[in-house]
Subunit: 402 residues, 2 copies
Amino acid sequence: MQKLIKDLIQKNNTKILLVVLDGLGGLPVKGKTELDAARKPHLDALAAMSACGLHIPVAMGITPGSGPGHLSLFGYDTIEWQIGRGVLEALGLGIELKNTDVAIRVNYATIRDGIIKDRRAGRIPTDKSRVITEGLQEKIQKIDEVEIIFASGMEHRFAIILRFSEPLPSGSASIKDTDPQIEGKPPLSVTAETPQAERVAKIVEKLIAGITEVIRNEPRANSVLLRGFSQVPDMPHFKEVYGLSTLCIAVYPMYRGLAKLVGMYAPSLTGNLKEELAVLKENYHDYDFFFFHVKKIDSYGEDGNFDGKVTKIEEFDNALPEILGLNPDVLIITGDHSTPSVLKSHSWHPVPVLLKSPYVLGKTCKRFTERECTKGELGIFPTINLMPLALANAGRLKKFGA
Amino acid sequence: MQKLIKDLIQKNNTKILLVVLDGLGGLPVKGKTELDAARKPHLDALAAMSACGLHIPVAMGITPGSGPGHLSLFGYDTIEWQIGRGVLEALGLGIELKNTDVAIRVNYATIRDGIIKDRRAGRIPTDKSRVITEGLQEKIQKIDEVEIIFASGMEHRFAIILRFSEPLPSGSASIKDTDPQIEGKPPLSVTAETPQAERVAKIVEKLIAGITEVIRNEPRANSVLLRGFSQVPDMPHFKEVYGLSTLCIAVYPMYRGLAKLVGMYAPSLTGNLKEELAVLKENYHDYDFFFFHVKKIDSYGEDGNFDGKVTKIEEFDNALPEILGLNPDVLIITGDHSTPSVLKSHSWHPVPVLLKSPYVLGKTCKRFTERECTKGELGIFPTINLMPLALANAGRLKKFGA
């Protein structure tokens, strides 16, 4: 489908703004979902004049991670473009990855006499973990001409990037996890699953030996378990497939990392919604497409904090008039997946969406809620169709066939 | 899917009538779409007792041309079966195409000193253009044993068919347009993109030279630009895949041409809706399936004439009792795409549809409008699914699996 879209693209001066309220969709508590409970006059009024519906990020029943949730919004097939855990972890820690890299998600672990006693090294505090990781970086910078980058993370988790001097062939990261996912057993050996991965596996073996040498006297974090060996997928960029110049406005590094995978410009950013809005306004004239990411709604959902999620939805609603003031040609407000606070996690439920443009029916939904969105003119549809729809509403797609 | 359908087909004496109100769907102007605004008591009453929904011809966001719009209604995959511009132009001019043919869409152009001055030869009047084209046909009938057929068109446009003496292998029409799509440059050379096309390209070179020799003293139409070289796709016929004998009732040649591609009998026909109805009645006992095409609703949409489109919908509504009088087992009323008068063009919006048969729920939609159809029992679905649904409602599909 992306090939067809690419063939139909025509350029113009329209602006498309995709607002992702992370983890937006929810489930009822005493009959009301978070969207039902929130006082959000601007979102409701906007829904009434917009095309509404619900979208399914991967497939019915499938709960998406943040990777597939976003790539699907960006119009990429989530089965074709799978982002490895190592890559996602590294992106989340703010590392810029290249096609010369293998990224690995790592746990500190406690190992005695070759047997794993604690897969998480007693959930060692982040401060302590950071000191150890920085110590590792000081002592280990290269193994056989391969640059080694350590990226500190939360508690026992961190990431390691092997940076080779030239682009790696695909399949180079096909290495089995060394984490057996169970305690009372030894770590698994480093096993290459493809011939291309053998060279990388040898570096990894030396790396584990080197790390263990440095930290062997730590009381808890005296060893490491490696998972999710992966390479950056070589994804076609927004400019190439959609002809769009793009700006990602996101506070969390992982979302910026995902945006960079598809070629978005994603400057570092800290702060809250107010700062994100300021960046949007400052840069509004310089790009065609804006990916505007709002994190906190998901975070409260993950915490099981219904009221917190409601408050964050209301906070966005307060800011909505500022966004509407920019008058984008196409405005989409949705989530990357649902995060019902009753589930305290991402879920498989379809995600409410509204699309405002001059070319919609409107008047099919009274408010912006999950139940009202089932009445919308967009129906319940695969998330991957959202980008073509945005492009169509922006007048950026030619007719198919004569 | 068509293979599955073919395996499940069983024959009976039911009649299926597919009414295509070309460009049916619309968008609101002051809150009302053309279907909202039209006074159409018969269509509304029928919708209330029918299965309703909206269908998507190609994919969300994709605006279909008439080719994919109709082929999708006929149950054919529009990505697999793409109709070239040359073929569509020739069909539109009433030419019967064979598997020995390459069809080309041609513009008269003004060229001076090898440089294109006007790609449309000053939009030369149709009368004048016809005289020139007839002159060409008189002087050029064959090039190297290949028959050359000139078909006059509107203004600067016409079509040329190269008719070889035997069926051409696929790929024979893969030749680049000679029209550079810009003035101030010379025409592009005739370039074959496949080995099979080389033979055809040589004929085309001689053809262009021959044409230029004939018309070089014309003040404006002194040269030609060629586009959309294409062959007729070898599509399976309705009889073969659905076991249906078919009649196409359409006034415009292009729709008859599309119907012929799938093996429909499509007699020449002139006149208005009244004449089309007469043909339907006369032939009602002789066919299983009727494709009944009503053009003018689309034409007014393309002109941006909201009221005109409304009037044509009302005109069809007046005729509807006559159609209902035939009491077809399955009656479908829909469009091949939407043509909102606000857009003055085809659009990507899903197309309202109603399906009347004894085997529907009904009572989900009060009227036949875009918004009411979002409540319908058919939902929002790919157009290609409509034919299997029609066949099922006609009792023409066996059970799948035991």
